[in-house]
């Protein structure tokens, strides 16, 4: 049943993608070859996929943790930005101590992500404000905050552009695949996905969390600490997204600029959905989205297909999955 569903969605997505490529006037086979070459064709290409996967995998896991606890955290984007801003603020404080800079970033970024989520947690638990609303609004606050920070307090005084001071090369994570942008950050993301999967399915806290997420009133009546569990999951979700932002600075950009993200936090939610709201499924979809992103420039360059197509295809896959999993029009 599940397999048939997956196959149907896969086939439907492929058909739609083929049609779109044909509409763009290119050959589907060439387009696929170009896409794969761009994503995995060389060490640099594979590295690019892995580098892009870090943020997507962590965002997807963050989305899963919150959603499974019953919290629709749409604020991953803002929490990601908060983590990146924190990294850009603390990293340059230790110009001669690269390890201290890394340690400070790895501590400060999750903390900032959790703090960015905290107002929504408080509003949800004390004022019944739906997190969907509060987190979307907090995303706007975070985006504006980054704009202000890179022009104000964090601005690099030596540069012409509105951006923060750069981390020293010693602080930046070095590539695990020489000659590529892939760093150990992707391993951290994978490890956290595995840890989240284990905690959700195999621990007391994970069971309680799933119960609170699915049936909050029943969980509360059964004596589970519902407020603590839900708030905790929300904050952890924010921390994971914040860590994703911090690792983006530490592994790839070395500094904060504006605009800093092209929707990693939102794509993470889509990846979590495509992954069936499980940490490992979300991580796998995160890799898929990363590969499509990495391959998209080759798609445009080599096959003449607009690179935007590479983000349309996964979106169609998510929609197809929702369509297939949705129930027929019966009142349940």
């Amino acid at each position: 049943m599940r397999l048939r569903l997956a196959v149907a969605v896969l086939l439907g997505t492929l058909a739609a993608a083929t049609l779109l490529v044909l509409l763009a006037g290119a050959s589907p086979a060439e387009a696929l070859a170009a896409l794969l070459r761009g994503a995995f064709g060389s060490r640099a290409a594979t590295g690019e996929t892995l580098a892009r996967a870090t943020g997507l995998v962590l965002s997807a896991v963050a989305a899963v943790v919150a959603f499974r606890a019953g919290v629709l955290n749409i604020g991953l984007e803002g929490q990601f930005l908060a983590g990146a801003a924190a990294a850009a603020a603390v990293g340059p404080l230790f110009p001669d101590l690269p390890l201290a800079a890394r340690g400070a970033i790895v501590l400060a970024a999750p903390l900032a992500g959790a703090l960015q989520a905290a107002p929504a947690v408080w509003l949800a638990e004390t004022r019944q404000v739906p997190p969907v609303l509060s987190t979307i609004l907090l995303n706007l606050v975070a985006t504006a905050g980054v704009t202000w920070l890179v022009r104000g307090p964090l601005r690099d005084p030596s540069g012409d552009y509105p951006q923060s001071r750069a981390l020293t090369d010693g602080a930046l994570l070095s590539p695990i695949l020489p000659g590529s942008r892939a760093t150990s950050a992707v391993l951290v993301a994978l490890l956290l996905a595995v840890a989240a999967a284990f905690i959700l399915s195999r621990t007391h806290a994970g069971l309680a969390l799933r119960a609170v997420g699915e049936a909050p009133r029943a969980a509360r009546a059964a004596g589970l600490p519902d407020v603590r569990l839900r708030s905790g999951a929300f904050l952890v979700s924010g921390a994971l997204a914040g860590l994703a932002g911090g690792l983006e600075v530490l592994a790839l950009t070395g500094r904060l600029y504006d605009p800093f993200t092209a929707g990693v936090g939102y794509t993470g939610i889509a990846a979590a959905l495509l992954g069936g709201m499980t940490p490992l499924g979300g991580a796998a979809s995160g890799f898929l989205f990363a590969a499509l992103g990495a391959g998209s420039s080759a798609l445009q360059r080599d096959a003449g297909v607009p690179s935007a197509l590479a983000s349309v295809v996964p979106a169609l896959a998510v929609l197809g999955l929702l369509l297939a999993k949705g129930r027929p029009g019966e009142v349940r």
Binding site: R202, T203, H204, L207, A208, R210, A211, E214, A215, R217, A218, A219, R220, A221, A222, G223, L224, P225, G329, E330, V331
Partner: protein, 499 residues
């Protein structure tokens, strides 16, 4: 009664939900001018069958005929237009909407744009002729008691004056007087040539008020007969066939074992938030049971839920001698309290988790990680001891029938043995065998040392429990009554009349 084609006839109906086969060749024939009772144990498929009749579900196989003509209802609206209306057991009202808006939603003939005044006028129009209390037109449905919600559902279904009105367990929440009034109203309807289908577990009602009956068992129709052609004994035997019945509960007698132990429950000046009633003070000793008997909407279930901490309240609460803050389910549990809520689907179980996970929500075996082998083994053992019929501990709670869900809940709440058990409508919607079993287990819990507080709307259940009764009327508690108090007295007290 007319002969000829049935007003509504379902034949050879099959329906499965995933791997669970709910109906396998069920039949229901309803004639114009009759009250037709639909009987069957929990999980027999009664609700599924009437949902198919009313267009809420589509059958996998079989036929639906309306006055001899084959029909298929793609949705409830189509069924309503064909003159078939269902009032479901768990009402489908919109909680956040007002009474006026809900009734407008239930009216398929309502104009697309309708003024608020016209919607309020509808409430009045529906309430007045039969003197129904539908609540204030502007009241939000979530603030209304279950009994009022049910009347809104029935009034909503009657707006189109359906030829076939189907009521899924309408009397479970009604007092004896209200039940009698309902049957009088239904009799008037069928005398005008319409038909009524009634799902109920109460055989006395069937033999007093219905014309014919259909008995379902495990998805099949076992019996279709005129009420006059059969006997309650024969039907009860069929109903209980295959179901294990525990021995009749022995009366409680308090041992000296727990003498000197703190009260299982003591309430001082206790008042649930939003209750207009005076504060309540009472205490319940270990090994003691108390039945609060009330028509829904009189605050008895509110009181029970507030004691368990799931509704806010003021006053003093002590469970097993430990003082706890009102409105805190965690503190209630920590002090040794256990709770069977009225709505087992929303407040009892987590439908998507396995039976084993539901049983061990709070303390699964294993120190930090869950010991899955131990979990499955102890869950299987508990399911067996509590008579939960399921494919195994890995089955999802949502796959169980109502009676088995309630047994699952008991299996969770009664182990480890609680100091206090609060059970609200513990047998509502359960078949005879399951009800007997649940009542026996409640009394067993008392015998094992718990204080047991049962809230029920069923005076016969209050008698059967054999514990002292306090009738609750508009939040006020009557003095202690012996369980042998006659039904007439209980009914008058429940209705707020002098005994």
């Amino acid at each position: 009664m007319t002969s000829g084609p049935f007003a509504l006839e379902l034949s050879s109906v099959t329906k499965s939900f995933g791997a669970v086969r709910a109906l396998s060749g069920a039949r229901l024939g309803v004639k114009a001018g009759e009250i037709h009772a639909l009987l069957g144990e929990n999980g027999a498929g009664k609700s599924t069958l009437v949902s198919i009749a009313a267009g809420l579900l589509r059958p996998d196989g079989g036929q639906v005929r309306r006055s001899g003509t084959p029909v298929s209802f793609p949705d409830p609206r189509a069924a309503r237009h064909a003159g078939v209306a269902l009032v479901p057991q768990h009402d489908l009202l919109v909680d956040a909407a007002t009474v006026a808006d809900n009734l407008a939603l239930l009216d398929p003939l309502a104009p697309t744009f309708e003024s608020a005044r016209a919607r309020r006028a509808r409430v009045d129009r529906l309430a007045r002729p039969s003197d129904l209390d539908l609540g204030s037109p502007d009241a939000r449905v979530e603030d209304l008691p279950v009994g009022t919600r049910q009347r809104i559902g029935i009034a909503g279904a009657l707006q189109t004056d359906p030829d076939v009105l189907i009521l899924d367990e309408p009397t479970a929440v009604l007092s004896p007087d209200e039940t009698a009034a309902l049957f009088r109203a239904l009799r008037r309807r069928v005398e005008g040539g319409r038909a009524v289908v009634l799902i109920t577990h109460r055989l006395a009602e069937v033999f007093e008020g219905a014309d014919r009956l259909t008995l379902l068992s495990r998805g099949r129709t076992l019996l279709e007969a005129s009420v006059s052609a059969t006997t309650p004994g024969a039907v009860a035997a069929l109903l209980l066939g295959g179901a294990e019945i525990t021995a009749r509960p022995a009366p409680l007698s308090r041992s000296e074992h727990h003498a000197g132990a703190p009260s299982a429950l003591s309430l001082g000046e206790f008042r649930p938030s939003g209750s207009p009633a005076p504060p309540v003070s009472l205490s319940l000793e270990p090994e003691e049971a108390l039945t609060l008997l009330a028509i829904d909407g009189n605050g008895a279930d509110l009181l029970g839920s507030a004691v368990a901490g799931v509704r806010p309240a003021r006053g003093r609460v002590a469970v097993a001698g430990k003082s706890i803050a009102p409105g805190d389910p965690l503190a209630f549990r920590a002090a040794g309290g256990a709770f069977i809520p009225a709505d087992r689907r929303a407040e009892g179980l987590v439908p998507g988790l396995s039976l084993a996970e539901n049983l061990f929500l709070r303390r699964p075996p294993g120190r930090f990680t869950i010991d899955r082998d131990a979990l499955a083994a102890s869950a299987a053992d508990r399911l067996r001891r509590f008579g939960v019929r399921a494919s195994g501990p890995g089955a999802r709670a949502r796959e169980l029938s109502g009676g088995n869900q309630q047994k699952l809940l008991l299996a969770r709440e009664l182990e480890p043995p609680p100091a206090l058990l609060v059970a609200i409508h513990p047998t509502r919607g359960l078949d005879l065998a399951s009800s007997e079993d649940v009542r026996a287990r409640l009394l067993d819990a008392a015998r094992a040392g718990a204080g047991v507080l049962v809230v029920t709307a069923d005076p016969e259940e209050a008698q059967e429990l054999g514990a002292p009764i306090r009738v609750v009327y508009r939040g006020a508690l009557s003095p202690l009554l012996p369980s042998a108090t006659d039904l007439g007295t209980l009914g008058r007290l429940m209705a707020g009349l002098a005994p």
